[in-house]
Symmetry: C2
Subunit: 198 residues, 2 copies
DNA sequence: TTATCTCCATACGCTTCAGTATGGAGCGCG
DNA sequence: CGCGCTCCATACTGAAGCGTATGGAGATAA
């Protein structure tokens, strides 16, 4: 007759810590990702943490690797060959980041990249993700008949835009943000519209 | 006959602290901007700091306001009316951020924006800078004969790009980065080339 | 039952950091 | 001379935060 309501999880594994850490990362950034804070959130103490992880950096790298796997899985899924629908896929990649529902994902993205600016190990992992994403997106442009160099330029512009726009605060600038974002997506994807090869 | 070599500065004012803080901000980010670290860099102690500033946040806001003034001064200067050269000015605005010499400025920019993501007071200041920049850049497109809505889209794309590309790590992606950046600048500024109004 | 292994709590030492309190050196000024 | 003002040093408290050491509860297996 023991209550189990306040004992929802009896055990903790590495993945549970990584999941919770990713949540804190989205909310507070790297600087707010402290082991004691994290332990309190998981209703345990540091003793547990240092059993699963060597130190704080061990957790950070684990979070980053987990993030990398997810991002690569996502972009692969979003850009798998679907002949005739490549243009839709390009727009979808743009929209995914603009969507308010993916705000959490973008917060993680920005936190990770801010860390990577000053940490070479993190930078190497971000570089892998960027490389896969750029190549996948370029393949979509190429499939639309866009020549190689222009495809490279446009996919780079695409990703730089979605990250950069998340750093800006522009409510006062334009009243119709929806139209603005649609037009920008057109600018990025435009030549893929109905232009034949070359 | 007292040596003055190791006594280069006898006094410190608020601006000296702000300048040093801006330097640390560029190198270490907001999280690395601590008063004792800053004091050590200025060869003084905290006692001096807390005479010039109420607390750490007082310094951070002062740094941010100083940054704001400089950025607004810069963009005004870069976009003052120069009939017939608006297109050059647009390219110049893009190039200024890509230039390796302005790496320090971009580091500050990114550090400030990462802070502004979670601090509404900082966010308000960044919003002011964004608004001025976007309106100045839009005026250049308008002067080139680009219609209003497209001018809005393109200047937003411009700034999102320059910030976003600074967050990416893409050495492996393309061998000719110079060409890539040139082409992207063309994509952003293109319709302003020789297109008449409408 | 006893031994062992897993997972976590507790307690500790150490460092960094924010902010305060207080004194003191130097300097102008009456 | 002495007074007061400016600017900074020193010394302190207290709070976080990282990492370690150690024990203990609970399960498992012999």
């Amino acid at each position: 007759m023991e209550t189990q309501t306040d004992k929802p999880r009896v055990q903790l594994d590495r993945d549970a810590w990584i999941a919770a850490a990713t949540e804190v990362l989205a909310e507070e950034g790297i600087a707010g990702l402290r082991v004691e804070v994290l332990a309190k959130r998981l209703k345990v103490t540091k003793g547990s943490f240092y059993w699963h992880f060597q130190d704080r950096r061990d957790l950070l790298i684990a979070v980053l690797l987990h993030w990398k796997e997810g991002r690569i899985r996502d972009i692969i899924k979003q850009t798998t060959a679907d002949p005739g629908h490549e243009l839709e896929q390009i727009y979808h990649v743009i929209d995914v980041y603009s969507a308010s529902r993916s705000r959490r994902g973008m917060m993680i993205e920005l936190a990770v990249r801010d860390w990577a600016r000053r940490d070479s190990e993190a930078g190497a992992i971000v570089a892998e993700v960027d490389d896969v994403r750029l190549r996948c997106a370029r393949a979509l442009f190429l499939a639309c008949g866009v020549p190689m160099e222009e495809a490279s330029s446009r996919c780079m512009l695409l990703y730089a835009y979605v990250f950069g726009v998340s750093l800006m605060i522009y409510e006062k600038f334009d009243t119709d943000v929806a139209r603005l974002k649609r037009d920008i997506a057109d600018l990025i994807a435009r030549s893929a519209h109905a232009s034949g090869p070359a």
